[in-house]
């Protein structure tokens, strides 16, 4: 029995632990300059540092237990679908103030359809137009949200 027996038994837990460690370290590093203050008069940096420290403790503890206790294997990530869905959201952000709600909605619906396993492009095109009309009428016209309906 030596170092060679160290292996990851619970990869999901380890991944979560690494996330906590990274977040805690970021919290400490980015909040370093904030004044700590005293326990009586806590400064702006008191809780950020304490909480970051706790996160690091949680991360360390969970990392160790991930080596000790067996857990389920890592799930496969649907990278392509995740990418498309997130990109569709960003696309909305990029377009909406320039292209207006009608065009943006239609484009985002079409783009996001690429993530569906059972996509049907013709149906999606019709749905994109319907959604674009519905959203523009409901949000820009009826509810009067400050979203431009048409390209500016």
């Amino acid at each position: 029995m030596g170092l060679a027996t160290v292996r990851v038994r619970d990869p999901q837990r380890l991944l979560f632990a690494v996330f906590l460690l990274v977040l805690g370290a970021l919290g400490l590093a980015l909040g370093w300059k904030l004044p700590m203050g005293t326990a009586v008069r806590m400064g702006a940096g008191y809780l950020p540092k304490v909480l970051s420290g706790i996160l690091i403790l949680f991360g360390a503890g969970l990392s160790l237990s991930a080596l000790a206790v067996d857990g389920p294997p890592l799930d496969r990530w649907a990278w392509r679908r995740l990418g498309i869905v997130l990109a569709a959201l960003c696309l909305f952000g990029i377009l909406v103030e320039h292209a207006g709600l009608f065009v943006t909605t239609a484009v985002v619906v079409l783009f996001a359809t690429a993530a569906a396993p059972d996509r049907r492009w013709r149906e999606a095109a019709v749905f994109a137009l319907v959604m674009a009309g519905f959203c523009t009428l409901l949000f820009s016209v009826f509810l009067g949200l400050p979203l431009p309906a048409l390209p500016s």
Binding site: G27, L89, I94, P146
Partner: protein
């Protein structure tokens, strides 16, 4: 007693205004819709629509958003019974016996008992809220910062222990939420914390962004990858009326479910889901012949459906009277109050009596509307199930984007939602429940404020939290809950309770 009647009069006076009635109806309709549709829940819906309610009066906004929550409890049972799919997490147990009843041609009876049971539970829960609201508020008004801090600790710990999943992961998620809640300008010193010079971040991240990213976007990707099967069982409804024997069998379980749901809804971490599970388990234990369960026992539909509606409603009690959310959806409601410029807490009752009583009265009205619209319109809801997920999720995406954009008319919030969407998917993949994060995020700023004030009053002596009896009691209760959850024997019992289905 006269007080209660006077308060109810104020409440119904407010809730029966034409605008409020209209938005109550919209709320329960939207709620039923998302309840029926698997793949979108009340949490994401409330988060999506919250920014749009900004233009409404606060009471109208809250009436509509609440309607979505309890409306979804009614809608969820429809899908569970007819399709054997939980439209909502709280309807998971309804599938077991509800679908079996449907297969035997008693779908109509199952739907009727679910709706009638829910209505009974909703009525009892409304009365309960009215009765306990004032005493709870009076108690809370005597709380100082130390008591408040301990109460929030108790709330957070309780939420973790009673929710499903790993306790340690959930505790870590609370801390992540607390840390994220610190982002923005520190109210005491004006220092910028973790804002990276982005002006949008100086007021903090919006809880709508976090809720939609974690619960809405992450779920979309997961649903796409797992696929949502929704073939509708072609059954005749078999008449919407219960036979006399069925009614007799269902009556006691409805009452028991209502009691269990009412109690569990108030607890931190409680609410609709836990109530339904607990009520089903209790019925199975009490039954003379437990083997009938899972084969279409009407008690298995009546009790959990009454319980989830009772629990959904009584979880408003700590939110309204103490300003403490017992679950993620109540955290959103707290956020909605803050967005409308109302500081949540016990003072809401005295400073906003029409909002307080109007909201409560609207719940009973909303339940009545649900009873009327649900049963006759069942055909429409079933037809909506035919909307395929490949269309539904693109619509959810666009509505989410419009919702977060309208918080501050800023595209930065849209990009942030994408970031939290990524995080949400990550959490799903590593088995970390995101609800505690949202609770920590919403409670974080209030906790910091009360902690700082308590320490200032006590001169920096942390003993203040254990020297004051109420505070000590709350902390001990929190410690006790945590110890119970971590004990191996109880841990197994807890895992089984959630696996019962």
């Amino acid at each position: 007693m006269t007080d209660i009647l006077a308060n109810l009069a104020i409440g119904f006076g407010e809730a029966l205004s034409l605008t409020n009635l209209a938005f109550c109806l919209i709320g329960v309709l939207v709620g039923t819709l998302v309840g029926v549709l698997p793949g979108i829940g009340p949490l994401a819906t409330v988060a999506m629509l919250l920014p749009i309610t900004f233009a409404l009066q606060p009471v109208t906004a809250l009436i509509m958003l609440s309607g979505i929550y309890y409306g979804a409890q009614y809608g969820g049972s429809t899908t569970a019974i007819l399709v054997n799919l939980p439209g909502e997490a709280s309807s998971v147990v309804t599938c077991l016996d509800g679908y079996q009843m449907a297969r035997r041609g008693r779908a109509g009876a199952a739907l009727a008992v679910a709706a009638l049971g829910s209505f009974f539970a909703g009525t009892v829960a409304t009365v309960l809220i009215v009765t306990v609201a004032e005493p709870m508020t009076e108690l809370a008004l005597r709380f100082g910062p130390a008591e408040y801090f301990s109460l929030m600790v108790f709330g957070l710990i309780g939420a973790v222990v009673l929710a499903s999943g790993s306790v340690v992961n959930a505790l870590a998620m609370i801390v992540v939420g607390l840390l994220l809640g610190l982002i923005g300008i520190d109210v005491n010193s004006g220092a910028q914390r973790y804002t990276f010079g982005i002006p949008n971040l100086s007021d903090g991240i919006s809880f709508v962004t976090i809720a939609l990213g974690l619960f809405g976007i992450g779920d979309i990707v997961l649903n796409l990858e797992r696929g949502t099967d929704r073939s509708i069982l072609a059954t005749r409804l078999g008449g919407l009326w219960l036979t006399r024997a069925e009614a007799r069998q269902a009556a006691a379980p409805v009452v028991r479910g209502t009691l269990i749901g009412s109690m569990l809804g108030v607890l931190p971490g409680g609410g609709a889901v836990l109530s339904a599970f607990a009520a089903y388990t209790a019925e199975k234990k009490l039954a003379r012949d437990p083997t009938r369960f899972g084969h279409g026992a009407i008690e298995g539909v009546a009790a959990p459906e009454a319980a989830n509606n009772a629990g959904a409603q009584t979880s408003f009690i700590p939110m309204l009277t103490l300003g403490i959310p017992s679950n993620a959806l109540m955290a959103l409601m707290i956020g909605a109050l803050i967005m409308h410029g109302i500081q949540p807490g016990p003072q809401v009752l005295s400073s906003q009596p029409t909002l307080f009583w109007g909201l409560i009265a609207s719940m009973w009205i909303g339940n009545l509307m649900l009873l009327v619209i649900n049963l006759p319109l069942i055909g429409i809801w079933v037809a909506l199930l035919k909307v395929p997920y490949r269309l539904l999720y693109t619509a959810i995406l666009v509505f989410s984007a419009i919702g977060v954009y309208s918080i501050g008319n800023s595209v930065i919030d849209v990009f942030l939602t994408a970031v939290f969407g990524l995080l949400g998917y990550f959490f799903l993949k590593v088995g970390a429940e995101p609800a505690p994060l949202l609770l920590g995020f919403v409670l974080g700023p209030m906790m910091e404020e009360n902690l700082r004030r308590a320490m200032l009053i006590s001169g920096g002596d942390p003993m203040t939290f254990v020297e004051r009896p109420i505070s000590l009691g709350l902390l001990l209760a929190a410690a006790g809950l945590l110890a119970l959850a971590l004990l191996p024997k109880l841990r197994r019992a807890r895992a089984e309770a959630f696996k019962e289905a």
